[in-house]
Subunit: 194 residues, 4 copies
DNA sequence: AATGAATGAGGGTTCATTCAT
DNA sequence: AATGAATGAACCCTCATTCAT
């Protein structure tokens, strides 16, 4: 019984994440989510309180997964310079898939009818993420690879934002930046000049 | 479309811009716009074809106004270093007010039922804006103030994005960046080290 | 002053009659009527109480005009058989142009917010029309041209309905009946067999 | 489109047919249909794409049902003269109930946003109806009961129109024709004189 | 008298959510 | 637990009518 639940829930998650990542919250219909998940519309409400809750759980689900993966990548023993390209590949793939989902949340969050507990949970989650990547970039600074005129926390934020650039680029008709482009750009901007 | 009363239109613009800047397209109700503008619901449709058209016109209206103001600021005779702080003040104020509106458009644009003419107009408008600011940053590069490891166009894009950072900052519970903070940050990142 | 009024009113009549004859009451917009009449929307309300009143006045206007013309045609001294083709030409032209207007009224009438006076006026008008044409067909019966197995009044009603056949014919994809076809049909149906 | 509950659909059909038969398309409100059907407003949209679609389906539904019944009546083995009064009873009852609905369609059809498939289906349906009754009247001609100075097709059309006479009669304040009156009238008009 | 900008009641339609099965 | 038919609040938009000029 529990197993079947897990599977159904998982299918709903996948479907919802896919759709929320693809389009705006209001343009994703519950019916669509149900259909893609291969379940009835009512079933979703067995697992999630509301559409907004579903979005929120998706975010949590995604970000936690992401941060687990991200931690694995950055907590390698190799030195900073060796890891960095991997980090970019990882982030690039993640943001390409999930950026709209996260953007959606960020702009929706203020109006989300969520409990304070939930909001704090989200905040904490993001905080942890930022802390984690800050530590990583601090390592870069400490190893003398990155400039120290900006803090590791600032770098971490810009780093995240960087993967959103493609939205603008697409709009301007510029070619998209590849993971490698991002890496080179980062290098130019934040690496210490020899 | 355009009928008579310049003032009514202006009031609708103001109201719509305010609301579209404050929340998501789907969460702004026509009635709300009308109420805030102090006009009847139907009046809006005397000036704008649809809600989507209204959003689009708001964008055009805003961006054009912004670019006029921006051009005035950057096309001063003073040298780059003197102008830069003013530019930051200007951009900061503008983005603080309009960033959500522009973000909204950017994420909505692909699904907007706009004529090709309108889309091209928008694209052109943004292109012009980017070109204008690119030229400005090129001046900074040419005058030896800015690093030349990134192109002026890239700087222009990062420059724009920078004013979005506060959205993330607010979410992380970090204190907002002031215009001056932005300026200092920019200096640290893009100024040539002496 | 009075003259100018007459002219404006006349232009509104023409415009409204045209449009009401062309399409359904609800599909004719006041703005459209005003535009076609070359007047402002508000002007119509100087002459007519409401859209429904306008429709009603149009009908009255038309039917009275029609009946005046019709009377002229049938009250000729020529004998019945001579006049009949002319009558068909007249009716055919009139119904081709006005049938939708009249149909519109007939189906709308029950819900028309008209004063009892107005309704009685309309009823009287139609009654007069029927009486007039009944008299004519009675002449045909009396002159031994028409069969006497149906009353003149019944003939008069069928006669009117006949000109509506083309609506059905068009729908069935049959070729329209010309005035002459109508005449021949009438002859076959109502003429006494020699 | 078609979901499950046959009964709900049936209730919507009945309600819509009633109302569309009673008044003009534009004067029938979806809410009214829903209320009369004892369902929620939204429920209608589970079964019908739009108001226009509902009207169209009503027509199809009615006409098909009518033609099935009509066929049963006329395809009896009894001879023409025996069947005819039954036919009149049947048609009279049907048109008394449905004529306004059909009239409504016919005048609305040109502006209905229907697919070509739908329009052709409708046309075909009406054609079949006409063919069926034409065949019947042809039998009357062949059996020497009806005059042959008009074609069976023409008779079929007049026959249909005859049941609309009451609309005009009501308007003129004449007493309605009963089924028997219609029959007698038809006899007078189309029966071969002995 | 003439205008047309302004109005807002009203209607069609959507869709998150519920609940009987 | 799962379903999907049913619901109705909510929303965009239309258009007859009004009224200040």
């Amino acid at each position: 019984m529990q197993k079947k639940n897990e599977q159904t829930m998982s299918r709903i998650y996948d479907s919802a994440e896919n759709l929320f990542s693809e389009k705006d919250f209001h343009d994703v219909k519950m019916e669509e989510i149900a259909k893609k998940a291969g379940v009835g519309k009512g079933t979703i409400y067995t697992y999630f309180k509301s559409k907004e809750d579903l979005l929120f759980q998706c975010l949590t689900h995604n970000v936690e997964e992401h941060q687990k993966g991200f931690s694995e990548v950055i907590n390698s023993d190799k030195d900073f310079k060796k890891i960095l390209p991997e980090v970019f590949n990882y982030m690039y793939a993640f943001f390409k898939a999930k950026s709209p989902l996260i953007q959606g949340i960020l702009s929706l969050m203020p109006r989300l009818k969520l409990s304070d507990t939930d909001i704090n949970k989200a905040r904490q989650m993001f905080q942890n993420g930022l802390n984690e990547s800050s530590k990583f970039f601090q390592r870069g600074i400490d190893e003398g690879v990155l400039i120290n005129s900006v803090t590791s926390r600032q770098i971490a934020i810009i780093f995240q934002k960087m993967f959103d650039f493609n939205v603008l680029f697409a709009f301007y008709g510029e070619p998209e930046m590849s993971a490698e482009d991002c890496y080179n750009f980062f290098k130019k901007t934040f690496f210490r000049q020899e």
